[in-house]
Symmetry: C2
Subunit: 329 residues, 2 copies
């Protein structure tokens, strides 16, 4: 690969002059400029962005840490994050933490060593202290890390209420909230926990008992979840409505119903959360609480860029959710 020196030599100029052409700095004659461009094209010269980054102390890279890209929600989120990052001239470094604490620590260190300009945390199992001396712009997703780290989230409380209200309005008398361990009460700071709270509030105010079923956090194997859901349905045959904390869990619930030959929506109604592709792909199509993933991604990137540019940002960025009624209610 040719470098500036090669270009300069071939053009009969000094390195700095060529660099000046590249950066549009100082006075350069048209003749010189054209010659430089010509030679660059001839040699197929590409500036070394690493060298530039080193000098400028700006890599234009953003580290993205999520539990796993194979989850549809994070896949869609990441798609849009990459889209908006690219628009602003940033590249995305992908990290799957699997919600593993030590992996998260390692990735944060790695990203810092690699001079990313900012980190987007979509997985956050670490304590605040780890972030204090990080000295790097961060945007958190769906979890409050600390008061001075901006967070982007959907209105989970409202989402929980919407889902509960829909089930109630459709005549459910015994709805249950089904969630993964990670989304549960033990992780208070996890904003997704508010889905549960919204659901509880609404169900209680309708004079019903807010039932819950917690699936094993690690048991992402469908079989285990499936067994747990089926067992729960058999123990509680009165259940006639489900609010699942994600569309993927809702799909598992639907499958359990299929196996138990419970008809949807006549015998049991189901509401998911997220509105990812799978929601409109399964049969019947899933009623769900829609998070505006694209807008949220846009916001995340904007917050990242603003912070990098040293501007003020708002700390809590909550996006409205909307109810999407389809075939399961």
């Amino acid at each position: 690969m040719p470098n500036l020196k090669d270009v300069a030599k071939k053009a009969g100029l000094s390195i700095n002059t060529v660099s000046r052409v590249l950066n549009n700095r100082g006075y350069i004659s048209e003749k010189t400029r054209e010659k430089v461009y010509r030679v660059m094209k001839e040699m197929n010269y590409q500036p070394n962005e690493m060298a530039r980054a080193l000098f400028r102390k700006r890599s234009n890279m953003i580290g993205l840490i999520i539990p796993t890209i194979s989850h549809p929600f994070f896949a869609e989120l990441t798609y849009y994050l990459e889209y908006y990052a690219d628009h602003k001239g940033y590249k995305l470094l992908l990290c799957n933490s699997n919600r593993n604490v030590s992996k998260e620590v390692e990735y944060i260190e790695m990203l810092k060593k690699n001079q990313v300009d900012a980190i987007i945390m979509g997985s956050a199992v670490l304590d605040v202290q780890h972030y204090l001396h990080l000295d790097l712009p961060i945007v958190s997703f769906d979890r409050v890390i600390s008061e001075d780290i901006p967070v982007v989230t959907s209105n989970n409380l409202e989402g929980g209420k919407l889902a509960a209200r829909l089930l109630i309005n459709k005549g459910c008398l015994h709805p249950v909230f089904i969630f993964r361990g990670i989304d549960g009460p033990q992780h208070r700071s996890m904003l997704a926990g508010q889905r549960r709270q919204g659901y509880e509030a609404e169900v209680e105010s309708a004079g019903m008992e807010p039932l819950q079923l917690q699936l094993d956090a690690e048991g992402s194997k469908h079989i285990e979840n499936n067994a747990a859901i089926i067992a729960y349905f058999q123990e509680h045959p009165e259940i006639d409505g489900v609010f699942a904390s994600s569309d993927v869990i809702a799909a598992e619930v639907i499958h359990a119903c299929y196996l138990l030959k419970k008809d949807i929506p006549s015998e049991i109604k189901i509401v998911g959360y997220d509105d990812v592709q799978i929601a409109s792909l399964i049969s019947p199509r899933l009623s769900t609480v829609r998070q505006p993933i694209q807008e949220m991604s846009d916001s995340i990137i904007q917050l990242v860029v603003k912070q990098i540019e040293g501007k003020e940002v708002s700390m809590v960025n909550t996006f409205p959710v909307t109810l999407v009624e389809r075939g399961t209610t």
Copy 2:
């Protein structure tokens, strides 16, 4: 952020000595070594990997270009690619091309400027010529770019045959192959086209006509696909089996059957391709041709690393597929 100079000053040593400790080069006394480590810990020093990369001409970054991370297949592939890359000390730079030619060109240039050590092409709509003067290790996925660029793929021909044979064995008399435009005959070099060929060969040898339905390449909107599938089923009521070129398409077919109240598997049988999460999430669970995504990802990373290290690699790497029979056949 402290740098080597700061560490050296605080430890009362020269920069180079400290660098030697970091790199385990030359003779260093235990005392010196310990002192350096202590000071580094005290200052929370992290070496600047960009500077190291600049000198070593090795960024330890791999560029990944795929159509879109939001497709479940690429999401799972990417999950494992990141996993194995991380194991070998490489980071992944994510690029969604949307199968857009100019995007692909831009991304390739960007990756080159950013000094990635190699590129994994999961999207490849470009001509060979673009890759010729790239002068960078490449591994292609599911598409032969040129003779000297290694490719990793599943045995698509065999997969097509397996699927067709399953449908035939289960008694289908009028099976149809449904695929997206991009996977079709016009892209001969696309190995996924071989799924069709395998299917055709098997169906013909059973004395039946190999029917086909091509969905709009761009119409990734479910609605359009759905309408197309439903229309096809209404025009061809004799259809009693479907081989879909991906699990996502199979899900769309299942949904069309749900709307048309065609019972699966009694009235119509369906086989997908990939065996991604969604296959075991939909109801009934999808029979499909399984690609060994994890092993393929491992192989891709191995090919990448070998090439970076200047070793010889095999050009064609075909992985066996297996039939996974579930509820749709």
